[in-house]
Structures are given as structure tokens and as C-alpha cells.
């Protein structure tokens, strides 16, 4: 059984069929890309897997458990982390605190200790800070830990979002356009980082990306979506030459 199994997923908004009969499997250590023109329903797939939207039909199984109707936060605790297309960091918190938030739902001290700094709380807080710092180090942001995220450069904010998602200690991470708005050197950096997530940390990585050179170079397989339908699945080189894919991206030729 694969880590994540999505079977025959459907989701529509009014008359718009955002996802039609989408099926997907992913295992630890795999990087699978999802590409497609704007409005193809890529982010909606993430939102349904992650629990922001409820599926109209279909089954999502994660770690051998049916999570189709679970609440969003439960899915995260079960091991699905994600980043957002439009960066969604917590503005009132520092960079370090943004990452700490990932540990807070599972921090081992009681509500009563939130009002009084007893030894157990102090210990737990220290441990959380240390763990959070290690995640910042992983993405190279340890120097910015006391800054406000909104004051950082765009590329660094993207990294922070990845660090925050990693701090949830996911088994599967959903990256929604992690390279959008980055300069070429930053893109190279991010692609190295994503490879490390799969190779060294053994995460399953689902990747939505518009930069074809990035997705093509690091994905093991690619799924192409268009108007909510899957039009091609396969290795990057096969997908690239698929006539249907070319048509979806460039339109039909006259000849």
C-alpha cells in the first residue's frame, strides 16, 4: 500500500469541475510533479488532500487510514505538511516563532502551565526552540530568527514556509509553487532543497510548479492536469513530448 492513495477524486464549485476523477499514488522518497495551465485545478487537489475543501466524491487514504473526512489539523498531525502558493506566514510572530507554531499543538505541557511558567513548561519551550532552530538551519535562515517574516526578501519567505511545513514533521509534503517569484540562483537552491527532502529525509513530495525546467529535472513522474482532468501521467521525458500536453500548453496547431 502506498503512503498516500487518492482514488477517483471529484470536486466542483458550482458549475466549475475543478477535479474530475483524479487518482494518485505516492510513496516515501518520491517526488511527483503536477503541472498544467492556470485553472487546471492543481491547487484544488492540494486543498482537498490537505482538508481545506471536502471532496465531493472519492477516497483519500494516508498511511493506510481513510482521511477523506478528517479535519484539516488532524491531517497535518497525521503527517501531511504543505506550503502555499501565495505565502501565508504568521505576521505577528518572529521567524523562529513561526516555526515554533508547528510544535505547539503537540507541546507536552498542560493548559494550566500556559498561565504559569513552571519547570515543565520552561523545559518544553526550550526544547521547542532548539528543534525549531534546527529546522531554520536546514533552510539556511538561522540568522534571521528574530526578524519579522514580512521584512524578509521573498525568496527567504518561501524558505521559511518550507521550514515551517517541515517542522510539522510530515511524511508527505505538498509544495505549491515553491519557486514562484524566485531568481534563477534561488531556484537552483530550492530544487536542491526539494531533492534533499526526498533523498535524505525520505519524504514523499508532491510538487506543483510552473517552472518546467525545475519540475522536469527533479520529479520522478509528472501528472498533467487540464480543466480538472488528468491528460497525461509519466516520466518527465515522455510527458514533455506528449501531443496532448503540447496542445494544452500551446493550443492546437493549424496544420
Amino acid at each position: 500500500m502506498a503512503l498516500l492513495e487518492v482514488e477517483h477524486l471529484y470536486k466542483s464549485f458550482g458549475g466549475v469541475k475543478a477535479i474530475q476523477d483524479f487518482s494518485f499514488l505516492i510513496d516515501p522518497g518520491e517526488i511527483k510533479g503536477i503541472i498544467g495551465p492556470n485553472g487546471a485545478g492543481k491547487t484544488t487537489i492540494f486543498n482537498v488532500i490537505n482538508g481545506i475543501y471536502e471532496a465531493d466524491a472519492g477516497i483519500i487514504t494516508f498511511n493506510s487510514e481513510d482521511i477523506t473526512n478528517d479535519e484539516q489539523y488532524k491531517r497535518t498531525l497525521a503527517g501531511i505538511g504543505r506550503t502555499f502558493q501565495n505565502i501565508r506566514l504568521f505576521k505577528g510572530l518572529t521567524v523562529l516563532e513561526n516555526v515554533q507554531c508547528a510544535f505547539d499543538p503537540v507541546a507536552k505541557y498542560s493548559i494550566a502551565e500556559c498561565y504559569l511558567p513552571l519547570p515543565r513548561r520552561i523545559r518544553a519551550e526550550k526544547e521547542n526552540r532548539k528543534k525549531s532552530e534546527s529546522f531554520l538551519e536546514m533552510v539556511g535562515l538561522e540568522k534571521f530568527k528574530d526578524q519579522k517574516p514580512e521584512n524578509m526578501a521573498y525568496g527567504l519567505q518561501r524558505r521559511l514556509e518550507i521550514a515551517r511545513a517541515l517542522a510539522c514533521q510530515p511524511k508527505l509534503i505538498l509544495l505549491d509553487e515553491p519557486a514562484a517569484g524566485l531568481n534563477p540562483t534561488e531556484v537552483v537552491d530550492v530544487s536542491h532543497l526539494i531533492k534533499r527532502l526526498a533523498d535524505e529525509m525520505g519524504l514523499a513530495v508532491m510538487l506543483i510548479e510552473h517552472r518546467l525546467e525545475l519540475v522536469m529535472s527533479i520529479s520522478h513522474t509528472i501528472t498533467v492536469q487540464n480543466f480538472g482532468e488528468t491528460i497525461a501521467v509519466g516520466a518527465p521525458s515522455d510527458v514533455k513530448n506528449d501531443p496532448k500536453v503540447i496542445e494544452a500548453y500551446l493550443g492546437r496547431g493549424d496544420a
Binding site: 481545506i52 479535519e71 498531525l77 516563532e97 503537540v106
Partner: protein, 306 residues
């Protein structure tokens, strides 16, 4: 002297209520227009306990806070799943319902003519001490795991949920904390004025507290307290101006909200570290230098790797 004592006591009691509102509105971003009704609950329950049932003051306060929290839990259950604007509507309705109930149950509460005969127990020292204790509680809460989760939920509930944060639960904890603190301020209030009536606890009172939080800085506990101190102290200082006090009050609030929307203090908190930072303020250029240095490093990294 007696006048100053009484003004200070009133300010301290308001500070306690606003500390509760800060946790709810400043920290978690929930607007409650029925918050004053929890102060009413605190006042009436503790007053009834002491005068009718002969319970000593401190246990009566604890019972009042527990009762308010239990009622708060029932109000909170449907509320915490709602969007911000609806929360204010639900709490507004609840608050007005409480004041009408207090008006109706004449036998128990004295109805519209008020509840009299409460012994005077609260003095400036009790109020001041309680205020410090409540502020400390709120400060510890802000820096705890729940405090961070509250800020996360206020900023972006969707992102918070995808970090594994149980948003309704976090909101409930914040709501009940604020209810407990506000109810406690009601106990102190009743035993200071020795008389309470339902009209004191309408939605205007709740709105006034929210104004105080925003005036001082909704992201800063220090700011909220400073705002309370200024806005509740000012009318007393300007007694000579009579009706014009409200005008000055309104102009002041409008000026702050227009020219400093984040409030007097913004996000600044009164901590040892921030005080030190005030005295050795780093030049902004230093920050910039730091910044470009690291971005260079990253670039170097990238080119080496590629």
C-alpha cells in the same frame, strides 16, 4: 486622597477587564460585544453569594468566575467555529440577553433598580494587586504555546490549521481565559461600588474596552494597558471640561486610529530585552548590511553547488 484612590481603583478594575479583552481581541482576533455581560455575571454571582448565601468574599469570587466560564463555554461552543463578524453578532445578542435577564429576575437581582447592600471589600491595593496578577497571567499566556497559536489563528486561520493547530479549540481557550478575567473584574467592581445595575454592562462597555485595546495597540499587552490607563483616566483628569470630555476622547481615538492604525505602541512589549534595545538602538544601516551579507552567502552557495 479618597478621590484619587477611587479613580485608581476604577482604572485598575478596567485594566483587568481590558486584559481579558486583549487576550480575546488583540491576541486571537475575536470581537466580543457581549464581554461586559461576563463582568455582570461576575458581579451578580459574587454579590448574591456573599449577601444572600453568606459565602466569604474569595470563595464567592472563585464561584463567580467558574459560573461565568461555564456559561462562556456554552456561548463559545457555537461561536468559535464562526467567522469574525458573526462572533461579534452572537456575543452582542448574548450580552443583551443577559442584561434583560438581570432586569427580569427582580427577586434575585433587584431588577432595573439595581442590586444594593454589597459590602465594600475592594480597595486600591486589592485592585492594584489583582491587576498586576492578571497582567502577569496574560503575559505568560501570550508567550506560551497557546499564545503563539492564538496569534497564528488571528493572522491566518487557514495556514494555522495546516500547521496542525486546532483553531476552534485555541479560540475556545482564549475566549474562556478572557471570560474568567473579565468576570473576576466584575467581582472586584461589585465589591467596590457596593451597588450594580444591569445598565452598567451593555454592549457600549464592551465596545469601549475594544477601543482601549486598539488605541494602545492591539498587538501589544503593554499598549492595551497603557491605552486603558489613558482613556479611562483622562475623563477624570479633565473634569473641568464637563461635556467636552467626550469630544476630546473621540478626537483622540480618531487621531490615533487614523495616523497610527496599529495603536500607540504597535507591537512593542515592555520586556527587559526591548528596554535594553531602546537604549542601544542599532542603526538601520547595520540591519541592511547584515541582510545583504547573508543573501550573498546564499548566492555563493548556489553557484558553488550549481
Amino acid at each position: 486622597m479618597a478621590l484619587i484612590n477611587s479613580i485608581l481603583t476604577f482604572i485598575f478594575i478596567t485594566i483587568i477587564s481590558v486584559t481579558g479583552v486583549y487576550i480575546l481581541t488583540g491576541l486571537t482576533g475575536m470581537f466580543s460585544l457581549g464581554q461586559a455581560s461576563f463582568m455582570a455575571l461576575g458581579s451578580y454571582v459574587s454579590a448574591i453569594m456573599v449577601t444572600r448565601l453568606g459565602v466569604p468574599f474569595i470563595p464567592a469570587c472563585i464561584i463567580a468566575v467558574v459560573v461565568a466560564v461555564m456559561i462562556g463555554f456554552i456561548v463559545g461552543l457555537p461561536t468559535v467555529r464562526l467567522r469574525r463578524d458573526y462572533i461579534s453578532l452572537v456575543t452582542l445578542g448574548f450580552g443583551e440577553a443577559i442584561t434583560s435577564l438581570l432586569n427580569q429576575f427582580t427577586k434575585l437581582t433587584g431588577g432595573a433598580s439595581g442590586f444594593t447592600g454589597i459590602p465594600k471589600i475592594t480597595n486600591v491595593w486589592i485592585a492594584g494587586g489583582s491587576a498586576i496578577a492578571c497582567i502577569a497571567l496574560a503575559a505568560f499566556f501570550k508567550n506560551s504555546k497557546y499564545g503563539r497559536q492564538c496569534i497564528a489563528v488571528r493572522n491566518d486561520e487557514l495556514a494555522a490549521k495546516s500547521m496542525g493547530i486546532n483553531a476552534p479549540r485555541v479560540k475556545m481557550v482564549a475566549f474562556l481565559t478572557s471570560v474568567a478575567i473579565t468576570a473576576f473584574s466584575g467581582c472586584l467592581y461589585a465589591f467596590f461600588t457596593t451597588y450594580v445595575d444591569p445598565s452598567l454592562f451593555g454592549w457600549k462597555k464592551s465596545a469601549e474596552w475594544i477601543i482601549m485595546v486598539f488605541f494602545g495597540g492591539s498587538n501589544s499587552l503593554t499598549g492595551s494597558i497603557l491605552g486603558t490607563f489613558l482613556l479611562s483616566g483622562m475623563p477624570e483628569v479633565m473634569r473641568a471640561l464637563a461635556e467636552y470630555r467626550s469630544v476630546v476622547y473621540a478626537v483622540l481615538v480618531l487621531l490615533i486610529i487614523n495616523f497610527k492604525p496599529s495603536g500607540l505602541l504597535g507591537e512593542w512589549e515592555f520586556t527587559l530585552r526591548n528596554i535594553k534595545a531602546l537604549f542601544h538602538r542599532r542603526k538601520p544601516e547595520d540591519d541592511n548590511d547584515n541582510y545583504s551579507d547573508t543573501s550573498k552567502e546564499i548566492k555563493n552557495d548556489g553557484t558553488i553547488r550549481s
